[in-house]
């Protein structure tokens, strides 16, 4: 493995010492490019009080290529599919090397506050959201209680 670029060390230091509210990201001890992430569901969203676990991996091309991020906790969200993959432009074509782990995680947190069924990844969930938003939000709440209750 390549030696860790200073940028990653710097980002990690800052993530640890000044974490963004509701976001915890810690590198694995045996691989400092692999982060375990927990995002607390934003208030007034169907994901409130949920603890959503994600994994984040920095490839060798980082920061020229975006980090790979995936939800590990099951979530009912039009932009997140069954496998936890996230539909977010900055993780794909809108990536910029000026973005950081912190900004990526904040964007994901924002995505939980504002689902976007017009740019879906999970089509059936998006349909549900568009046809009966109230019912979809109810289901999302149920899932949050069911799958994201534990901080473990």
């Amino acid at each position: 493995m390549n030696s860790l670029p200073k940028r990653i060390i710097k980002e990690t230091q800052r993530l640890m010492s000044e974490p963004a509210p509701g976001i915890v990201a810690t590198p694995a001890t045996d691989n400092l490019r692999y982060f375990k992430v927990t995002i607390t569901g934003p208030a007034e969203s169907p994901f409130e009080k949920g603890f959503f676990h994600l994994e984040l991996f920095l490839t060798d091309e980082y920061p020229m290529s975006p980090p790979k991020v995936r939800f590990l906790t099951k979530i009912y969200h039009p932009n997140i599919d069954k496998l936890g993959r996230i539909c977010l432009d900055i993780l794909k074509d809108k990536w910029s090397p000026a973005l950081q782990i912190r900004t990526v995680l904040l964007s994901i947190q924002a995505l939980l506050s504002a689902p976007n069924p017009d740019d879906p990844l999970a089509n059936d969930v998006a349909e549900h959201w568009k046809s009966n938003e109230k019912d979809a939000i109810k289901k999302a709440r149920e899932w949050t209680e069911l799958y994201a209750a534990s901080s473990e």
């Binding site: 670029p5 200073k6 940028r7 060390i9 710097k10 980002e11 990690t12 230091q13 993530l15 640890m16 010492s17 974490p19 509210p21 976001i23 915890v24 990201a25 810690t26 590198p27 694995a28 001890t29 400092l32 375990k36 927990t38 607390t40 603890f51 920061p63 020229m64 910029s96 090397p97 000026a98 973005l99 901080s151 473990e152």
Partner: protein, 496 residues
């Protein structure tokens, strides 16, 4: 590991404005987009290959559109910085996520922690000089707080260094750049040296003290005066040793003078042994005639007195004579032993290859009247022999003598064979074995024109009678016969 440039900058707030938007490090070759976003040339070049826009404002951007910023460059050049010798390496920081209790308490176990090795802390004994970033290199090269290896202990034992750091918490604040230092070695030099010298008595610490470590340049001169490894001359042998070993050396130096316990004269250690054995006047010695028997002992300075003393002199002479006599006796004894050995060897030869005939003639006075007596016959290698005596000689000219012969029974002799015999015939003197008469012969049997061989005048009969040869009217004749050669003369059958 080098202290990062960012750490050296005094006003840390400035870094945020002067760092590359991509690698987050202090700008090295700053370039900006049309909106003034700053990147390092190498970083933005890589990024533009993937995406022709500014990573921050996403304005369209190509390599040609990048511009310098003389203001930023000057700003960086003039940054106020400490030099790297202002810092030392601290213990690695262990960082765990700090956030709401509910998450951190569980995450600390499930998510682990981050070990930040790059923890640079201010070195209290370090350099406080402030220079501009532009002049940093020049200052650091000549900074007297920089480190140098002590020239007297420059053994390249980097493994030892590691041990130091592991074993001793005080040493954990060593700087690992072009200079490697531990706190013990750099502080004030007199203090640290006394510490090292004390440790010398402690074997456990021996390894750690195999070198001085890195010393600040400003302290080197002082260190060299007190360095435990500084070369030091032994005042006795004038050889060079490192200071910490000189006491041990002097203790054992063979050029060191010692006082002789006996004569109290000062002698160089290596000469002490020969002094005692060869020259010390107070050493108790044996008389040179001790192995001839003189048991006198005296100090060496009394040797001449003893040798010139009249009584001792005659005593020594007596010892010498005794010694001479004894030598002669030993020589005679040795000769006798040799003769004895020869005899034993002869007997052994006879025993393996010879025949011993013992012929006891009883009633000599009666036998004698027969003039002639012969022994029983015996066989040697197929030949039949017997011994014979003519009591009053076998011819007129040997009258009064006893003649003795070894006879071959020619009629029974094997054809075509001959024996070469070495033999003697002995008249045993029964009063004194040493007076026995022995006649020796070397003869080839069969004898041409005769039957036997012997001595016509072996012994006078009167001598036989009066000199102790006959005892109880019995005479003993002994004959040892050795076959020296077996000869075969084969008649070749005439050819038809």
């Amino acid at each position: 590991m080098e202290v990062p440039i960012e750490t050296l900058i005094i006003d840390q707030e400035l870094i945020k404005e002067l760092q590359c938007g991509i690698c987050l490090q202090l700008l090295n070759t700053p370039r900006q987009c049309q909106n003034g976003h700053l990147f390092d040339l190498s970083c933005i070049t890589t990024s533009l290959k993937k995406n022709k826009q500014c990573p921050i404002c996403r304005c369209s951007l190509s390599s040609k559109e990048l511009s310098r910023s003389l203001f930023v460059e000057k700003h960086i050049r003039n940054l106020k910085v400490y030099c790297k010798y202002h810092y030392k390496k601290g213990e690695p920081l262990v960082m765990v996520p700090t956030t709401e209790k509910s998450i951190s308490s569980s995450s600390s176990s499930s998510l682990g922690s981050f070990h930040d090795d790059e923890n640079w802390i201010i070195d209290d004994g370090g350099c406080d000089h402030i220079s501009t970033f532009e002049n940093l290199e020049t200052h650091q090269n000549s900074c007297e707080f920089g480190f140098d290896q002590c020239k007297y202990s420059s053994n390249n034992s980097s493994s030892n260094n590691k041990n130091n750091n592991n074993n001793n918490n005080n040493n954990s604040n060593s700087i690992n750049d072009n200079g490697n230092a531990n706190a013990n070695a750099n502080g004030n030099s007199s203090g640290s040296n006394s510490g090292i010298i004390n440790n010398n008595n402690n074997n456990e610490n021996e390894k750690e003290n195999d070198e001085c470590g890195m010393i600040r340049k400003k302290d080197l001169e002082n260190h060299y005066v007190n360095c435990p490894f500084r070369p030091t001359l032994c005042k006795y042998c004038e050889k060079q040793f490192c200071f910490k070993l000189i006491d041990d050396h002097i203790e054992n130096c063979d050029m060191k003078p010692q006082t002789c316990d006996l004569c109290l004269v000062s002698i160089i250690k290596k000469d002490m042994e020969s002094h005692l054995s060869d020259s010390c006047p107070s050493k108790l010695i044996d008389c040179p005639y001790s192995h001839f028997g003189c048991s006198s002992k005296f100090t060496r300075d009394n040797l001449n007195n003893h040798l010139e003393n009249q009584t001792a002199m005659s005593q020594h002479l007596k010892f010498l004579l005794l010694q001479q006599t004894k030598k002669e006796e030993d020589f005679v004894k040795e000769l006798e032993e040799k003769e004895d050995k020869i005899r034993r060897l002869e007997e052994a030869l006879l025993a393996s290859n010879g025949h011993r005939i013992e012929w006891k003639i009883k009633n000599v006075s009666k036998q004698r009247s027969d003039k002639y007596t012969q022994s029983e016959s015996f066989i040697i290698n197929g030949f039949t022999f017997f011994l014979a005596l003519f009591w009053d000689g076998d011819t007129s000219e040997s009258t009064g003598f006893v003649s003795t012969y070894l006879f071959l029974e020619t009629s029974k002799a094997p054809k075509g064979k001959a024996l070469f015999l070495h033999y003697f015939i002995e008249f045993q003197n029964q009063r004194d074995r040493n007076q026995s008469i022995q006649k020796e012969f070397d003869v080839l049997f069969p004898i041409k024109g005769g039957q036997g061989w012997g001595d016509r005048k072996a012994i006078k009969y009167t001598s036989l009678e009066k000199d102790g040869f006959i005892k109880d009217d019995t005479l003993i004749i002994r004959s040892d016969i050795l076959v020296k050669k077996n000869l075969w003369s084969i008649d070749v059958a005439p050819q038809r």
